[in-house]
């Protein structure tokens, strides 16, 4: 039914475009038009389609909750809990689809009939109201173009409005992220004290297995379960290992590319290194788990060291490889934008090329380099698949790179893989972790971008 209404609206709008254009051509025979005939068509089509579609969309969004309100209004006085009402409503819905297999009560039967009745009324009134709005608005627009009013301006204003709404998509996404994270996190902190989360030393979310809803409200069973210190420590530790690999290689290759490399080397080596950034992270994860992890383990055995197959070193090292191109190309850009006269001044004083780089160019480019490193750190903290596949899933508090440890992102995946139950502190814990991740990366990005921007302005 819904798709029929939708298609009808689209078809009517399309045909009214041709209708409006034809009308304009008719008008043209005895009057001067205010705009090109096609604008008359657009005008009519917009008035035909837009209001009806908007009403249709709003109706479709709000219909289920309104129907639910009417069905449950009979029982609202009985003082039932929200969960019981939900359960009852689900039963009513499945009964109305003839898929109900539980115990039949008179109440249920009555409500199901009422539900079907309501759905029918809603469906037909939707058709009638949407179509009458369509006819009314089209009629209004038709009298307008018959009177030869301005059509181009309203059409352009409408288009501009659509453009503006599109530009809000980014803001809406941010709001969506913040709300979905914040909402669950607040509920989480109603059960688990914020202090326990931020300073707790033990993280065993698997312990918080809830069988039914009444159990979830008992905070005592979660004591010492959701302490995020090992997770935060593991995240920064793995990011540190990654940066130990990425900063020297990335920075040195960036410097070489900018200062020494011949045009040909630059032309070929740069895009090839950037391929490293384009490889999906799941591929790195597989590589780390299948090749690097066992390799390090064997290497450790031959040296007499105990190395876990899922060591932080394997995950961090591979993550570092992934980050090399971010640092190398950003620092390359930054170094190339250092003005030539600084170099010339240094050479004139008799400095060698490497002395110029070390003593003049790097200090001059330092803010930009720091910015690129911060962006790399933010990547490392937010990286998920490498850690999930190559590092441990148990949260150990350790500073030994040969042992396994876990990160924020890996824990989110561990908790949310498979079926989730909303309202369960375990699920909410994942959102709390997500919020901390979001805040940390956001701060890093804002700092990094503003540092880079200031730096650019300095030399432009």
């Amino acid at each position: 039914m819904n798709s029929v209404i939708f298609l009808t609206i689209v078809l009517l709008a399309l045909s009214s475009y041709f209708f409006g254009r034809k009308k304009a051509i008719l008008i043209q025979s005895n009057k001067r038009l205010t705009a090109l005939p096609k604008f008359y068509g657009y005008y009519l089509a917009i008035w035909c389609g837009a209001p009806a579609f908007l009403l249709y969309a709003l109706w479709s969004i709000f219909e289920p909750s309104i129907v639910r309100f009417f069905i449950l209004s009979d029982y609202s006085s009985q003082g039932l809990l929200e969960g019981e009402l939900n359960l009852f409503y689900e039963k009513v819905k499945s009964l109305s689809r003839n898929q109900y297999s539980g115990e039949l009560t008179a109440e249920l039967q009555r409500s199901a009939e009422k539900y079907l009745n309501f759905r029918d009324i809603a469906k037909w009134s939707k058709v009638v109201i949407v179509l009458s709005l369509l006819i009314a608005s089209t009629g209004y627009a038709y009298t307008k173009i018959s009177n030869n009013t301005k059509t181009r301006e309203p059409v352009e204003i409408f288009l501009k409005g659509v453009f503006f709404l599109s530009s809000l998509a980014a803001i809406l996404t941010t709001i969506g992220i913040i709300f979905s994270l914040l909402f669950q996190t607040i509920e989480f902190f109603q059960v688990i004290p914020l202090f326990d989360f931020v300073f707790g030393m033990h993280w065993y979310p698997a312990k918080a297995f809830v069988r039914d809803a009444s159990e979830a409200l008992d905070p005592s069973m979660y004591s010492d379960t959701f302490g995020a210190v090992p997770i935060f420590a593991g995240t920064f530790f793995i990011a540190l290992i990654a940066m130990c690999v990425a900063i020297p290689i990335g920075l040195l290759s960036g410097i070489y590319m900018a200062e020494y490399a011949s045009k040909r080397l630059r032309q070929y080596a740069k895009p090839v290194i950037e391929i490293l950034a384009g490889i999906p992270t799941v591929v790195y994860g597989f590589f780390a788990a299948l090749t690097v992890g066992p390799f390090l383990k064997d290497l450790g055995l031959s040296l007499g060291l105990e190395v876990s197959a899922e060591s932080a070193l394997a995950a961090g090292g591979v993550m570092g490889i992934m980050i090399i191109p971010f640092i190398s190309s950003l620092s390359d850009d930054v170094i190339t934008s250092v003005p030539q006269n600084l170099r010339d001044g240094s050479y004139a004083m008799g400095a060698t090329k490497s002395e110029t780089i070390k003593r003049v160019i790097i200090p001059a480019a330092l803010p930009g380099i720091v910015g690129s490193i911060l962006l790399g750190v933010s990547r490392a903290i937010g990286e998920t698949m490498i850690v999930v596949m190559a590092s441990g899933l148990a949260a150990n508090l350790t500073l030994n790179p040969l042992e396994s440890t876990s990160t924020i992102t890996a824990q989110i995946v561990v908790i949310l893989i498979g079926d989730q139950q909303f309202g369960d502190p375990k699920t909410q814990a994942a959102f709390a972790l997500g919020l901390s991740l979001f805040i940390v990366t956001l701060v890093l990005n804002i700092v990094a971008l503003s540092v880079v921007k200031k730096y650019r302005e300095k030399y432009e």
Binding site: K160, I171, L181, A261
Partner: protein
């Protein structure tokens, strides 16, 4: 230290520094080479499939069919090919004990029933005769034949028993083990059995996700970029939108997964595990990338184009839609393709919205549950069976092929169609 020695030292330092730089680039390239060789060397065998060709006697008695009458399609469909298969396997070693018969059966993929049946359906003339039929070898033997399994370790640490290897070697000597291009890797859906698992379902899942992502992200991003670049007044609100887009581009992908889970699934009640939800989540993720690319190419269109159109009496909207946007389209398109390539390789957000479920059917619409190629890599990589390792590498090769293809496409569009303004 005199002047000369100092100079020598400084030149040495210069040489050293250059060497470090070269070494760093060499290291980065080395990683890439090791990486690609590792993937290819473990993955290429997955494109070959091992078959065992065994003599099968389509004897009417064994199938409990009427020997005098030619069986109809229905008769064949109703016949019991499991028992028939076991009887056929016994002919490989008539002295086999009860346990050995089980081992014989395990030399073949569990689809042997279907394969025997379809052979007879396709070749009804072979009824009552003994013919050679090609059956899929089990994963273990497949790996042995490809040399991925060591044979010289003790039997209890091997998946294939001595007995199976003996029969297998005998078949091999008779030329009854053949290796052919593994078409089923591309046409089968996922399976718990490595020898039968294919990428068709995850490929379709990726395709649908990317199409949904494209159809949402491209128009919205293009219109948003046009608004911000051409129409927006310079005020604090548009500055805010701009900062917002830049920050959104750097938000970790897993956060978008949480958004999909917390809003699309929990609030809007869209169906779990479907490419529809995956595509919407990915579109939110790629939106900033495309907006930034589109804005850059709109900025690159010189003002003289706009001024000329305005001078001819075009309205602002006409100038934009007829002149600026078409000129900025190649750059936007290549940015879109790069954004889509990123989305294609994305795993974490899709895991959170449930696209990690085991799906053994090929999805027909974006509303059917599905996996995607990177998620398939994850699922197989987590699986313990040895046979999946080569499948993972092969799946990675397919994924990388598409990524390279898309990136080359983006380059091509940029070089062919983008106008250079000097």
């Amino acid at each position: 230290m005199n002047k000369e020695e100092r100079l020598i030292k400084r030149y040495k330092a210069e040489k050293r520094f250059q060497f470090y730089g070269k070494a760093a680039i060499f290291m980065a390239l080395l990683f890439l080479v090791v990486f690609i060789t590792k993937i290819f060397s473990t993955g290429y065998t997955a494109f070959q499939k091992t078959w065992l060709v065994i003599p099968v006697n389509y004897n009417a008695d064994l199938l409990y069919l009427d020997p005098d009458k030619k069986p109809t399609t229905e008769d064949i469909n109703d016949a019991d090919f499991y028992e028939f298969g076991i009887e056929t396997f016994i002919t490989l070693d008539p002295d086999a004990s009860e346990d050995q018969i089980m081992e014989l059966k395990k030399m073949f993929a569990f689809t042997f029933e279907r394969e025997l049946k379809y052979y007879l359906l396709d070749n009804p003339d072979s009824f009552g005769k003994t013919v050679d039929v090609k059956l899929t070898a089990s994963d273990d033997l497949d790996q042995v034949f490809k040399g991925n399994y060591p044979r010289d370790i003790p039997e209890n640490r091997r998946r294939a028993s001595d007995y199976q290897l003996k029969i297998f070697d005998k078949l091999n000597e008779d030329g009854r083990v053949i290796s052919e291009f593994n078409a089923s890797f591309f046409t089968n859906a996922d399976s718990r059995e490595a020898e039968l698992a294919g990428i068709a379902s995850s490929f379709m899942g990726s395709l649908f996700s990317i199409l949904v992502c494209l159809s949402i992200a491209f128009p919205v991003a293009l219109l948003a970029a046009v608004y911000l670049e051409e129409f927006a007044p310079k005020n604090r609100f548009t500055d805010f939108i701009e900062v917002n887009i830049n920050n959104l581009a750097a938000v970790p992908s897993i956060v978008f997964g949480l958004l999909g889970l917390g809003v699309l699934l929990a609030v809007f009640g869209l169906p779990r595990s479907t490419p529809l939800v995956g595509g919407i989540t990915l579109s939110l993720m790629t939106l900033p990338t495309i907006i930034i690319a589109a804005r850059a190419s709109l900025k690159a269109v010189p003002p003289s184009i706009r001024e000329a159109a305005l001078a001819m009496g075009a309205s602002k909207m006409q100038t934009t839609m007829h002149h600026t946007v078409p000129l900025a389209l190649p750059g936007t398109l290549s940015g879109t393709i790069i954004g889509l390539a990123q989305a294609l390789g994305e795993t974490a957000p899709l895991i959170l919205i449930g696209m990690v479920a085991f799906v053994n059917t090929i999805p027909g619409t974006p509303m059917d549950p599905a996996a995607s190629l990177p998620v398939q890599i994850y699922i197989w990589a987590e699986s313990a069976e040895r046979g999946f390792v080569e499948k993972v590498s092969a799946c990675i090769m397919v994924l990388l092929f598409f990524l390279i293809f898309m990136n080359l496409g983006a380059q091509l569009i940029r070089h062919k169609f983008e106008k250079k303004w000097n």
